[in-house]
């Protein structure tokens, strides 16, 4: 009963909080999205659907649309094909080294996909690709083994970095299903295979489908990998096409009209996914971790491990290896001999003014966005959790809403909204700050929400009744308890910001480049050594922050682990 009781009457205090947060959220979401919708239908003589007509009649844009659908569907499917078996193996069986596997999946999860795409250019480019050269020297063949600059190549590279979404959904669901349910079927005479097919699979089906949808959404919104792999192959996806529409002369109306369908598709898919998860009529899912017994794999133990390692080799070992090699080589395609060894890439990267400036910009934006974002998210989560003001549900909804906005679409909207009075922010770091803050708000809010949900209101009330005022309770009881959760939120946002490409690529100007944009530029110049150095730097920062976050949360970033106890 206490859960539904509004804790304090705060009508008097609600006004400033409301105005402040409502204004912030409006500036971040409603204004840009309003401009986006308006721009997509504005003509010289009032409202028009001409832009939409042109977008859908243009054969090149039609092609891009179709390519996006193909890419999203197949990479979603491939993600399920990779993620589901690994999740089952690591959650349910006696697979060896399952902790190490989980760590590697996390590495794949936090690797910026565009870095992976670069690495795979170096690994499987048709001519200079390392694996292709190896293949040719071993077999004497003329043709390359793989050509990464193809649609299948693109699908492969996208899938090896999106399968963790499927893995998370399924592993966390499997962790909640008691073995009894499976054993009940075994005792009735079902074979192990049949149990998996008729009991386990139907129970995780919603998780599989929702993992598929999450992967599709990732692929839909992705800019980096298609830009790196599809453009040289001569085809576009929606995101790269929107980006191309900004090339001189910019066709902003067209970009807006092209963005709206992408936005609607994303919103629709997320709605479906929410429905799927909401319909958990499965009594066993959602309880506390029930008794689980590992299924023995027998002779399949090591082949299964090898399969997992092969996937993770493609996602982690090979790309990281080639980046490390390129970082220390004069010519990345040549063998790493003493003559080929150099530190010049490092000095170039950190001393060259353009890259230096980008590193500074990225760190500034990362720290600023993380501080403001974590603060705002904590405030919002506190207000909504303690039901402090009327209409708190609306605030929660607004904070989560940007999850449906792909980075590229957000950038188009912000570009339109902030290149005109009263907000002339284009060309400054502030427009990037707003983009990042908006994009990271759903993650930040969910994280903070979980934090405050874990702090029982009675802990605060116990302080009040003993004589502490509201602010004193906030300072001496709530803040210390929420501290590690808020720092973890900070980390989540920081990681998200330093790797952001799809919005930055549209919003940057020569003075406001960030690391991801510079990496993208350096590729045009063929500076693979410098790319590798920046990539390693970015990964090192990411892993340092992830490690800090895991220590604070007492769990890894992939979500609840079966054995994990109640984390603060």
């Amino acid at each position: 009963m206490p859960g539904v009781i509004p804790r304090f009457h705060a009508m008097d205090r609600s006004a400033p909080v409301w105005v402040l947060t409502a204004a912030a959220l409006a500036l971040l979401i409603l204004l840009p999205m309003g401009w986006l919708g308006y721009m997509s239908v504005s003509g010289e003589r009032g409202v028009t659907l001409a832009h939409y007509a042109r977008v859908f009649a243009d054969p090149q844009l039609q092609k891009a649309l179709w390519n996006t659908i193909v890419l999203a569907f197949w990479s979603g499917l491939l993600s399920v094909a990779i993620g589901a078996p690994i999740a089952w193996l690591s959650a349910r069986t006696d697979l060896p080294c399952s902790r190490a596997i989980r760590t590697l999946i996390m590495a794949s999860f936090v690797t910026p996909p565009f870095l992976g795409a670069f690495a795979w250019v170096m690994l499987a480019g048709p001519n200079a690709g390392y694996l292709n050269k190896l293949y040719r020297s071993l077999t004497g063949a003329e043709d390359p083994l793989f050509n990464i600059f193809t649609m299948p190549g693109l699908i492969f590279v996208v899938a090896i970095y999106t399968f963790p979404y499927v893995y998370i959904m399924i592993a966390n669901t499997l962790g909640l299903i008691a073995s009894d349910l499976e054993e009940a079927a075994s005792i009735l005479g079902a074979s192990r295979f049949r149990v998996a097919l008729t009991v386990t699979l139907p129970m995780v089906a919603p998780a599989i489908l929702s993992g598929f949808i999450l992967s599709v959404l990732q692929a839909l919104a992705l800019f980096g990998s298609p830009a790196i792999l599809a453009l040289p192959a001569g085809f576009h996806t929606i995101t790269t096409q929107i980006w191309a529409l900004f090339h001189y002369p910019p066709k902003v109306e067209m970009a807006a009209a092209f963005s709206v369908p992408l936005l609607l598709a994303t919103a629709l898919l997320l709605l479906v996914q929410k429905r799927l998860l909401g319909r958990r009529g499965y009594a066993s899912v959602g309880g506390k971790g029930a008794q689980r017994r590992a299924i023995p794999l027998g002779a399949w133990r090591y082949p299964a491990l090898l399969g997992c390692l092969a996937v993770l080799g493609c996602a982690v070992f090979l790309p990281y290896g080639i980046l490390a090699k390129a970082a220390f080589s004069r010519a990345w395609a040549q063998p790493l001999t003493w003559e080929n060894f150099t530190l010049a890439n490092w000095s170039f990267t950190f001393l060259y003014s353009s890259t230096q400036g980008a590193i500074v910009n990225t760190l500034e934006l990362g720290v600023l966005t993380a501080c403001v974002g974590a603060g705002l998210a904590a405030l919002l989560a506190y207000v909504t959790n303690r039901k402090l003001i009327v209409g708190h549900q609306l605030l929660a909804f607004l904070a989560l809403a940007p999850i449906v906005i792909p980075g590229t679409v957000l950038a188009v909207a912000l570009f339109i909204a902030y290149t005109r009075p009263p907000f002339l922010l284009y060309g400054t770091l502030w427009i990037l700050f707003i983009a990042y803050l908006t994009k990271e708000m759903p993650v930040g809010y969910s994280q903070s929400d979980a934090t405050f949900r874990g702090i029982h209101p009675e802990l605060e009330e116990a302080g009040r009744i003993l004589g502490a005022g509201r602010l004193r309770v906030l300072r001496e009881i709530t803040a210390p308890l929420a501290k590690s959760g808020i720092i973890a939120t900070w980390c989540f946002i920081f990681i998200g910001v330093i790797r952001e490409l799809s919005a930055s690529i549209i919003l940057f100007t020569p003075n406001t480049k960030v690391m991801s944009v510079v990496i993208f530029d350096l590729k045009e110049e063929g500076q693979f050594g410098a790319i590798a150095v920046l990539g390693i730097f970015m990964l090192a920062m990411t892993f340092a922050v992830v490690a800090l976050m895991q220590t604070l949360l007492g769990r890894d970033v992939l979500g609840p682990r079966p054995s994990a106890g109640a984390a603060g």
Binding site: M1, P2, V4, I5, P6, R7, F8, H9, H456, E458, L459, E461, A462, G463, R464, I465, L466, G467, A468, G469, R470, R472, I477, P480, L481, G568
Partner: protein, 362 residues
Amino acid sequence: MPGVTIRGLSKRYGDVAAVLGLELRVEPGELVALLGPSGCGKTTTLRLVAGFLKPEAGEIWVGERCLSSPAAVVPPERRRMAMIFQSYALWPHMTVDQNVAYGLRLAGTPRADRDRRVTDILKAVQLEGYGSRYPGELSGGQQQRVAVARALVVEPEILLLDEPLSNLDANLREEMRFEIRRLHETFAITTLYVTHDQAEAMVISDRVAVLQDGRVVQVGTAEELFERPRTRFVAEFIGKTNLIDGVADGTGTVARGRLRLRVASTDLTPGAPVAVSIRPHQIELAPRALPGAPAPPDANVLAGTVVRASYLGDGVDYQVRIEESDVVLRVAGPAPPRVRLGESVSVSVASGACVPLPSGGG
């Protein structure tokens, strides 16, 4: 030491009235339990007294101070109260000492005095030597004691307890009932105790206030409530009982079909619907075949058949069908059983044990 007076207190959540015109007086130094099923408004009442909620109507007075009214609510931190929560609400980032000393620190108690009082109270709740532990390192029962110590150490005017024992296992719960009663006898703080467990309320409190739909329906000692319930709801909620619906056919008798019962009242209105409450342990069974002891003159003696008998070790739980009626009585008989399943029995109940209740509402 002040008492608490609650007058006409009301609180709504949307369209639902949680508390509706509640009246209650707690004497200085008295422990009153607010007892009722979930949703009866007992926790809301406690939170209103604590000042976490603002009433829509009514007033809460402590001694000469009016603490809550629709016009003004003194905030919780200025009420000189202490509260023990269902979740204990121990701060996990503070040690036992820090938890207990928090209220004293807020009150500006000097360091030496503070340390002494913390040590004393920890001794009183049998937690000597646990001061440097964190709450996470204690068992449920120990956490409970820390919560009690934290509330008592500030020497509050009023102590509020919100189902403090509901998270403990059955054995510990029973033990803590006596512990809380012992502490109350030691410190004699005016106390409001919320619970849904009638046994707990009866053991711990001086008086019990039974709540139903946001109102106090009866206040009294455990004995009064059990022996002389004033409504059907109280009779059913406090202990097990048999309820027989009938009609008064005289000032002191109630009829149901051919069954007539003399009851513990002589001022019934003939023709009025009346329910009669009979406690299972106040019914005596004897084999009809044997000439039993002569029944007292005011007893109701009925003929019945045992239709169920469950042996419980310390007693026998019977169901007896009363002949020539549709009434089946629950009877708590002594062990070893004197009558058997299927046996014809004579059922005797003193008229004083047949409590007439207004039939309709509640």
